[in-house]
């Protein structure tokens, strides 16, 4: 089922537009995303158990210890473009496998640390590099494998984060009690090695972009070939793409507001007088609803009733609204309701935020786009939490912080509405024959894709055409 259409597409158009299998092995890749996101972000979220131990063992302050996660996360986001470029050159499979190895190695070396600096370098730097090499390519692979059910696949893949947050905290606690933090880090390094297996599972759907491009065009000069490889690898041409720039600004705003409740909700609950257990219950409830939101949003978006950017705007708008309502919830039941809304919208937004990228920039540039996006949106993440903390210090309550977070999201929503082709019922048209020098079959390939996609457009009031590049079977 997978092979024939893939071949037909490939031979009729030299630009590597490979039909997404939409099933079959694709679900195995979704499983790989599930485990990878669990072992990357679920792990990061549960590292708090270790911090208590580090503070006691090294005698450093909690703030100094929290830099470990900051460095790790920063590495993961900042190095995303490099991971994307490497995948463009070498293919996703070797990159992800290397990433799995590095992330495990970082933890194994960390178990031998004798100072906090060692932890920064091992758990922060090395593992952070590993995480960068894993996350973006895996996400891109899932998106390559799915066209119709892309959002659902993404949503299912990301549920790994939510479920692992539940499972890892008690597991880490047990490991620390049984083996002390050194032994626990060693075991976690081993667990991280499982991501090598996750990478092995990602069968390439075709040759990596840069390899194909350099094959297709004739290069005279070796030096310019290297430069153009770098240029293509990083997809730097995206920086002049209006849709991409708009979306990256929107994502930066989203990122600025998105994490603030995770950081401040518990403190806020304490602040207005709820007990520890009540606050913890709020967080748990939010987590569960988050998982539901991811899957539900993915499934609903794939039904095709609304265009993906429209759905994204709906969810982010609701999210911003719920954030602004949090300070207004003074009664416990009110806080639970608003947190439910927040959790659902936050989860619903995540798969769409990724799945909409191919629609904006096209499948072939998707990998590079993801890398660059992560880099640009990290600015939002870095600014958002300290800003809200500063606001809290100056005003005394979290009200202004939550309102600021909500307004960031609303701002992002407004920016999203300025995306090209946002206000049209149809999505962006299929790509014109590519600018690269390529074989003559390309024009036919472009035309063929157009006829194929228009034939398969569903007969609704607003014909959905968000994935014009692949053909539905």
């Amino acid at each position: 089922m997978m092979e024939k259409p893939k071949k037909t597409q490939e031979e009729e158009q030299s630009p590597p537009q490979i039909a997404a299998p939409d099933g079959g092995w694709g679900w195995v890749v979704v499983g790989s995303l599930f485990f990878s996101s669990a072992l990357v972000f679920g792990l990061i979220r549960s590292l708090g158990v270790f911090f208590v131990e580090f503070v006691q063992y090294f005698g450093e302050s909690a703030q100094a210890v929290s830099w470990i996660t900051s460095i790790g996360l920063a590495m993961q986001q900042l190095l995303s473009p490099i991971a994307a470029a490497a995948s463009n050159v070498f293919g996703t499979r070797p990159v992800v496998m290397l990433g799995g190895f590095l992330s495990g190695l970082g933890f194994i070396l960390a178990s031998q640390a004798t100072s906090l600096l060692h932890l920064y370098l091992t758990m922060g730097l090395i593992s952070g590099i590993g995480w960068a090499l894993i996350f973006t390519p895996t996400v891109a692979s899932v998106m390559q494998y799915f066209a119709v059910r892309r959002s659902l696949a993404m949503g299912l893949g990301f549920t790994g984060i939510g479920l692992s947050s539940f499972a890892f905290s008690p597991l880490f606690q047990y490991l620390v009690e049984a083996y002390a933090w050194r032994g626990a880090l060693l075991v976690l390094g081993g667990l991280s090695f499982n991501m090598i297996a996750c990478g092995a599972v990602i069968r390439p759907l075709g040759k990596p972009n840069v390899v194909l491009k350099t094959e297709n065009s004739s290069k005279l000069n070796k030096c310019s070939s290297l430069l153009s490889r770098i240029y293509e690898g990083f997809e730097l041409s995206l920086l002049s793409h209006r849709g991409f720039l708009t979306y990256s600004i929107a994502l930066t705003f989203f990122n600025a507001g998105y994490f603030i409740p995770y950081v401040h909700l518990v403190a806020h609950s304490h602040h207005i007088g709820f007990t520890e257990y009540q606050a913890a219950a709020v967080i748990s409830v939010t987590g569960v609803v988050d998982i539901l939101g991811r899957v539900a949003s993915g499934w609903f978006s794939d039904l095709g009733k609304m265009r993906m950017p429209h759905m994204l705007v709906v969810w982010t708008g609701l999210l911003g609204l719920s954030l602004m309502l949090i300070p207004a919830a003074v009664v416990y039941s009110g806080l639970i309701v608003v947190s439910l809304m927040y959790g659902f919208c936050a989860g619903a937004m995540t798969p769409l935020a990724f799945a909409v990228v191919p629609e904006i920039v096209g499948m072939e540039r998707m990998l590079g786009a993801l890398g660059l996006l992560q880099l640009i949106e990290s600015v939002g993440g870095l600014l958002g939490a300290p800003l809200s903390g500063w606001l809290k210090d100056h005003t005394g309550t979290y009200t202004v912080s939550f309102i600021a977070a909500g307004s960031f999201l609303v701002l992002g929503t407004l920016v999203t509405m300025t995306l090209p082709y946002f206000w049209s019922c149809m999505g962006p048209p299929p790509p014109s024959p590519p600018k690269r020098k390529s074989q003559d079959g390309s024009i036919e390939g472009g035309l063929l894709t157009q006829t194929l996609s228009s034939n398969s457009a569903p007969d609704t009031l607003c014909p959905l055409n968000d994935i014009p590049y692949s053909d539905k079977e």
Binding site: E3, K7, T8, E11, E12, Q56, Y57, G91, R93, P94, M97, S111, E177, A178, Y179, A180, R182, G183, A184, L186, V187, G189, G190, L191, F193, N194, I196, A197, A200, V201, R203, P204, L205, G206, K207, V211, E215, Q439, D440, G441, E444
Partner: protein, 319 residues
């Protein structure tokens, strides 16, 4: 009469410091007053007794107050009972220590302003620490004062784990500052004092007021066991224990090796499975699935292109 005596005793040490300053003196008196209310529940802590209304109906309720005793002293304990039905002119009450009635402690208390106040002064030495209760016979109302040295509260129920040749820090802390701290290692039923001067390479003790830290360097398996931190007060030392477990590095290595083996097996299986399913596709496709054959893919692709769809190929050639 007892009042000045009590004030005198509990404030004796502190009074010496601040006689010079009148302001300090007033603060001092207030402080002493505060201390008094600490040891005796007096009318301000009536809320403790308003719940007694239920008790007077015949149920036994015990209200417990914990008092930390640092030095041998004389303490006056005061019980204040209110809201008794019938309001008799006087009632009888007695004192008990650790459940045993103290002889000749029974008193008849007269009603004053709707309250019945039963009080007694005790001289507390190390052997006198325990639970002191005032019990009113008529309605069985009871207040228990627990007199004890300050308790070291944060006990870990799980042992502290560390590794050979590593170091570990054991910590104890209290609300009050003792005269000094001592550390012991428990060998079955005996306690062995840890002497830092005799063993400066292995042990370090750092005392900081109400906390103490014992650092053990160069751990070995014999260091496993129970360690007792002892806070020495005038009246009696207060002790708590921490359990230490020293592991060798092979312990966490076992699950680690198991997981690494599992990963290697998984990866091998995955890659093998892919290679095994490749021959099926080889006849019809170029085997682009396999990353290993990327070099040969170009050649084989052209081949199989021709095999699959001759028209397309001819079209290309024609152009």
């Amino acid at each position: 009469m007892p009042r000045p005596r009590r004030a005198q005793h509990c404030c004796r040490e502190t009074a010496l410091f601040s006689m010079a300053n009148v302001r300090h003196l007033i603060l001092l008196l207030l402080y002493c007053d505060g201390m008094n209310t600490e040891t005796t529940p007096s009318p301000p802590s009536d809320p403790v007794f308003t719940t007694r209304k239920a008790v007077s109906k015949g149920q036994n309720q015990v209200i417990t107050e914990e008092l930390a005793i640092l030095t041998p002293q004389n303490i006056e304990l005061l019980c204040n009972l209110t809201d008794i039905p019938n309001n008799p002119p006087n009632i009888t009450g007695y004192w008990a220590k650790d459940g045993q009635e103290i002889e000749n402690s029974e008193e008849t208390v007269n009603r004053i302003n709707e309250q019945y106040v039963l009080k007694k002064t005790f001289s507390i030495q190390a052997r006198d620490l325990g639970n002191y209760s005032c019990i009113f016979r008529e309605n069985k109302a009871q207040v228990t004062f627990v007199l004890d040295v300050p308790v070291i509260k944060d006990k870990r129920d799980k042992p502290v784990v560390s590794y050979t040749r590593d170091s570990v820090v054991l910590e104890c802390k209290l609300k009050y500052t003792p005269n000094t701290w001592n550390w012991y290692k428990a060998n079955n039923t005996e306690k062995e004092l840890i002497n830092v001067t005799a063993n400066p390479l292995n042990y370090k003790i750092f005392n900081n007021g109400n906390r103490t830290k014992l650092t053990i360097l160069n751990l070995s398996e014999e260091h496993s066991g129970k360690y007792i931190c002892s806070a020495v007060f005038d009246i009696k030392p207060s002790e708590s224990y921490i359990e230490l477990k020293v592991l060798s590095y092979t312990e966490p290595l076992k699950p680690f090796i198991a997981i690494v083996v599992e990963v290697i097996v998984l990866v091998t299986l995955i890659l093998l499975w892919e290679k095994c399913s490749k021959p099926q596709h080889d006849s019809s496709s170029a085997g682009e699935n396999d990353v290993c054959s990327e070099q040969t893919t170009k050649l084989t692709r052209d081949e199989s292109n021709g095999v699959e769809n001759n028209t397309a190929r001819r079209r290309k050639l024609d152009d």
